[in-house]
Point group: C2
């Protein structure tokens, strides 16, 4: 970072919702900020499943961090990986060995999916956290149909046309609904050797209902909406084995070539460098002002933070929580700089919502339960509102309107490693 | 392919402009067609440089072949690689060993860039033919700026901010103009340790003028427009060496970390399997009806064909030529099936155009020479018109309108292999 004498320096690690909103709030107040991320863009995570299911292109839900923060000359974006954090000496070390000093640190490096005790399931059943994950899932879904078209064996074809989603939270529900729509509408007339509408989409949830964090009536409504789309919803049951050609559920073996993972998260490993205890998923317990014990100048926010509310419950790892924590951490830093007392963080829950397919959703807005079209419009409005970048909003709106009318999905490209033949394999023509 | 008794079978290899338009024309007439491609989409090549320079997303210039051909139940899309062609036994072999019989074959597998006698330059100076190429070029352009931001050494920073484009045809001209605009406008305020407007963009052309295939006055107009954008145009000179940190031009060594290749093409190797002579760039000499000598049921079209016009000149490898040849080959097949004599192919030259930056272009429309804004609007109109898919047209129009107003580029993501630090390196967070 450029060294000047303009007061304290804040280092923010991670350009997701928490880090970006913190950097913006500090940028607005003229504080010197260095925002470090390993990628050059802010990703609008809530729409990532739409990239995985070809409804949107990566560029439509990502915005360059430099462009978002351009107008704050006091904010510097640093494309780098943090390899070490030294809270005693107030410094972070980057991948190229550079050591950066901070007066305040905001750590918001998020989470990735967790396979609990089964790390080797990861290559078989990809999860959905990054753009690369989304493109990999998109590739697997559409390649499965292509392989089915060239598969002469009926049993193998059936396995290719069976999609299993492990985990019935919002991501699992959204993926299952979208994949079922792809099979029943988008590609329903695209193949000549099988009927894509016969594809099976199976959603597995270990708890006794899907969307467990929602009120029971909304879980039930979501289940009905999914079943209406042709999804088989299995609750009270999880996968006990995941293999490339099948999954085991209870005493049942389900032949499938496409298993997707939406079942658990583990926080970024950087949290472990703070010298504090972390919980089972790697989260750091933070104090009411979002700082960590013994280091009042270090804040942890977003999915990496375990924030216990006054009612004893931990806050979930969602975008609204991260956004509000980012702004609250920035506010507490500003208060400290200007000699005011810090404020405890209070989460204002505006509600939660999940979509099921093209025009249905469930929403819990401060006790008001919405389902169906109405919930879907609410979902649409809120997501467009929070999507960063005017151009992105317009493009996403165009894509949604077009898909709504035509059931088409604008980004149905199979890119990356390629294997469609039953015997042969080879790289795609460079694509 | 499904076997039925509905008359002769046409196999089309390659889903670019030639193959797609041939398959469509045959599909409309109810002929049984198998269209084979290694990728699942038709790529709108003329806008590929806009993906390489982050103005458009891949999904916006690609449309699934199955979606385009969906309504022709007699057309089957086969996602596969052709490994062998046997013109004597009328069959093609796929990567998985499947052998497909044809009555008529249309070969339109196109071209890739050629490095002439310097194949090892390929990894240093990527060319632009596929979506993967475009994303690789996009990654290199934007990573160069990121690396410059973290480079303390002034000479090294200068090399990072020097972009060399080898080849002054339409692709080279379009790339050079777009990169100069990125530096001077899009990212001009995004960095804190250097001024992106100091970046150098150098266009090298071996001939004595750029856009050699255009009339001289348009070449001169294009050169002026490029220079106005800050591009250094060097004609009558090529690169004699290409290394990761410099290129050699005449007796000059230009330090640069980003060299792009727009200098030559070589046709697909499948042409060599026809048992005929091919020219220096691998093209197959075709007869006036687009079939090959000795095999009246085999047609070669597009970039793979060397078609000599009555005036003795070979047709260039452009989209309009491929489109017209695809339709002409389909027509000659249909004439043969229905017992009518074939027609010789005549290219109808509607004109050629190339863009220079955001709002300038040169166009030669049947002798009418346009430059500047007017040519740019003509370019815009024609490209939107030929872009396949209504949704794509709308999205591209939105992107263009937004960039026109804001100089912003909606797809500025750095994806793929990642190396920004001067010492360290590591994978991006999965993106």
């Amino acid at each position: 970072m450029a060294t000047t004498d303009r007061g304290p320096t804040v280092i923010v690690v991670g350009g997701g919702f928490g880090g970006l909103y913190a950097a913006r709030a500090l940028g607005r107040r003229g504080v010197r900020v260095g925002l470090i991320d390993r990628v050059n863009y802010h990703l609008f995570q809530p729409l990532l499943y739409q990239v995985a299911t070809a409804a949107l292109s990566p560029g439509e839900i990502a915005e360059p961090l430099r462009a978002i923060l351009r107008k704050y000359r006091n904010v510097e974006v640093i494309l780098a990986e943090v390899t070490r954090i030294d809270v005693d000496h107030h410094s972070v070390t980057l991948d190229d060995g550079t050591e950066l000093h901070y007066d305040y640190l905001v750590l918001s490096t998020g989470a990735r999916h967790s396979y609990f005790a089964h790390p080797k399931w990861e290559s078989t059943a990809p999860g959905l956290k990054s753009l690369a994950d989304a493109l990999e899932i998109r590739r697997r879904i559409f390649l499965a149909f292509e392989r089915a078209e060239r598969e002469p064996d009926a049993a193998k074809r059936e396995a290719l046309l069976t999609f299993v989603i492990v985990g019935g939270g919002p991501t699992g529900v959204e993926l299952a609904g979208a994949i079922s729509e792809i099979a029943r509408h988008t590609v329903s007339k695209d193949f000549r050797h099988f009927d894509p509408r016969q594809a099976r989409v199976i959603l597995l949830e270990r708890a006794d209902r899907i969307l467990e964090q929602y009120p029971p009536d909304l879980s039930a409504a979501a289940k009905r909406a999914l079943e209406h789309l042709g999804v088989e919803v299995h609750t009270g049951t999880g996968a006990t084995d995941v293999q490339p050609d099948h999954v085991v559920v209870g005493d049942q073996k389900i032949p499938t070539c496409t298993t997707l993972w939406a079942a658990g998260v583990a926080s970024s490993s950087l949290g472990r460098q703070l010298g504090l205890e972390v919980d089972r998923t790697g989260r750091v317990a933070v104090q009411p002002d979002l700082s960590i014990p013994h280091h009042a100048n270090v804040f942890v926010i977003g999915d990496l933070a375990a924030f216990r509310q006054p009612n004893g419950k931990l806050l979930p790892g969602t975008a609204p929580v991260a956004i509000q924590q980012g702004e609250a951490a920035a506010d507490n830093i500003w208060r400290t700089i200007t000699g005011k007392p810090r404020r405890d963080f209070h989460y204002f829950d505006r509600g939660s919502m999940a979509t099921i397919g093209r025009a249905a959703a469930v929403a819990d807005i401060r006790g008001l339960h919405l389902t169906g079209h109405l919930a879907w419009f609410a979902w649409l409005f809120v997501h467009l509102l929070y999507l960063i970048g005017f151009e992105n909003r317009l493009l996403v709106l165009v894509q949604w309107a077009a898909s709504y009318v035509s059931y088409e999905r604008g980004a149905r490209l199979i890119t990356g490693p390629w294997q469609v033949g039953t015997r042969g394999s080879g790289p795609a023509r460079g694509d």
